[in-house]
Amino acid sequence: MAAATAMPQGAAATRGAIRIEDVVKIYDPEGAAVMAVDHCSLDIAAGEICMIVGPSGCGKTTLLNAIAGFHEITSGRITLDGEVLCSTEKPRSTPGSDRVVVFQNGALFPWKSNLDNVAFGPVMQGKLSKTEAREKALSMMADAGLNGVEHNFPGEVSSGVRRRIEIVRALMNDPKVLLLDEPYRALDSLTKSVMHEALLEIYYRNKVTIFFITHDLEEAIFLGHKVAIMTSRPCKPKKILTVDIPHPRDYGVLTSKRFRELIEETNEAVHEEAVKAFQSGEKEG
């Protein structure tokens, strides 16, 4: 696959390849058919960070929900490592711990301590006992630099820390794919840049495929191996950019010449879609 050239060095991931084939999603509330996703095809290699960029409400989240199994698709097919997740015949995939979602506004359970939140998945799946899961959670949180907040509730830590905990919670399930739905949207730009480096650091240790939705082009190019710029509703890839800046990356990339060039190359396409979305007055979806 073409994206293989941009794969990170070190142990290449062997699982988590997503193939989106000709997916269509039509919302049909009371007969008024609204096409959210229009014959969308996209290949994501195992262990690749694929950034999905598009204006608000363009249908990116619909795609993520289809992969996660929260919503049905109308037609088409999505496979994970060759296995069909959902298709025209079986429109809704079964949610599973191989594809864990990190939500836009965060979904740490407020009634559980941070540690118990992180330990949640393996216990649910019966893979680990509660004690074992807590031990693993402690060490994973320590690895991610999250010491000292284990016994707090999510409401007691900053939103940036919450987001990091949530990513660790997702990784505890040993997923093939991490589905991130604008996880840093609500953060200020300074916190955001810290979060980006933290995410990459986690990624370099656990090579999972990352499906990352954003409307921030800089974020997309900084993090991604591949950036798919989506059209405004209905949603499909307008331009797919392979980011040839080598990983591991750090904050310095943001001021590099190549980074600026890539931004310039894609800025217009993104802007065009944003204008279209604005004119059609699409609401948040």
Binding site: P110, M124, G155
Partner: protein
């Protein structure tokens, strides 16, 4: 809100306001005849012209002064009948309230979780809910074999509706993200019920219980007055605080009416404080808001 440090200024303010209130009350009830004072004769004449014949305003002068109330209380404190009234009302409130929790929480959860249960159960519930608990008193006396049970049933109704409505509302307002997150981490339906719906509804259960407890006290007092106090023990004050007040009124002991009223205030305060502390213990994550 919670977790605040002890505030001596707030305490001083509280004591001050209570003292001022008591002083005003004392002055108010002792100056029964203030309107006869010469300086106010013009005002009295004006009132007379408007058709008032009394020499004083019935406003607060008719109520016993706090000092009289305290004296009456002093004697009542040694009357086992008074404490028996406390116990009777407390047991009715406790019984009705716990029955309401026991039935209301599962019922509310069932309504919230299953569309079928909701479709079948909610219309009847909504039809019965607007009927004030006190309207149930006669029917309840006819239906239940003992008066005790009929009073307990009416107090049960007082808390039941509030608890159910809060549980349904609370369970339904749990963010869908929590369900999706739990699902994607491999939770079964039973897991989701236990680890998402139950803890997610807990704050609403606590709120509903606190409100329900308040209504329970309102209802029990009125029910005791209407039903004549249930089982009679120890003469004048055997059938609960509501009956204690009613009996004092019938017997013309006005100080005791106020004693009964304040007793209910104290009882209500104690029960909501207990609930609040228990609620905080159950929902530690809300302490930080």
């Amino acid at each position: 809100m919670a977790g605040r440090k002890f505030d001596s200024k707030a305490l001083a303010k509280g004591v001050f306001s209570i003292v001022v209130f008591l002083v005003l009350w004392e002055i108010g009830s002792r100056s029964k005849t203030w309107i006869t004072a010469e300086s106010l004769s013009g005002f009295r004449d004006a009132l007379g012209a408007m058709g008032f014949s009394k020499k004083y305003l019935p406003w607060i002068g008719a109520i016993p002064a706090p000092s009289e109330v305290v004296l009456a209380w002093g004697t009542v404190l040694f009357d086992p009948g008074y404490w028996h009234s406390w116990m009777m009302s407390g047991m009715r409130v406790g019984g009705g309230f716990f029955a309401a929790m026991l039935v209301g929480i599962p019922f509310g959860l069932a309504l919230a979780v299953s569309r079928t249960t909701y479709g079948i159960g909610f219309p009847v519930f909504e039809l019965l809910r607007p009927i004030p608990p006190l309207a149930w008193v006669p029917a309840s006396i006819i239906f239940w074999p003992t008066q005790e049970l009929s009073i307990a049933f009416v107090t049960f109704l007082g808390a039941f509706y509030t608890i159910v409505i809060n549980v349904v509302g609370g369970a339904r307002s749990i963010d869908v993200r929590f369900f999706q997150a739990a699902q994607s981490m491999g939770s079964s339906k039973a897991d989701i019920f236990r680890r998402v719906i139950l803890p997610g509804t807990l704050p609403s259960i606590v709120v509903g219980s606190a409100v329900g407890m308040g209504i329970t006290w309102e209802v029990v007092v009125a029910a005791e007055m209407i039903s004549g106090g249930g089982s009679q023990v120890g003469g004048t004050s055997g059938g609960g605080l509501g009956f204690f007040i009613w009996n004092s009124y019938v017997g013309g002991s006005y100080e005791q009416i106020v004693v009964g009223m304040i007793s209910i205030g104290i009882a209500g305060f104690i029960s909501s404080e207990l609930l609040r502390h228990f609620g905080k213990y159950l929902t530690p994550w809300l302490r930080l808001r």
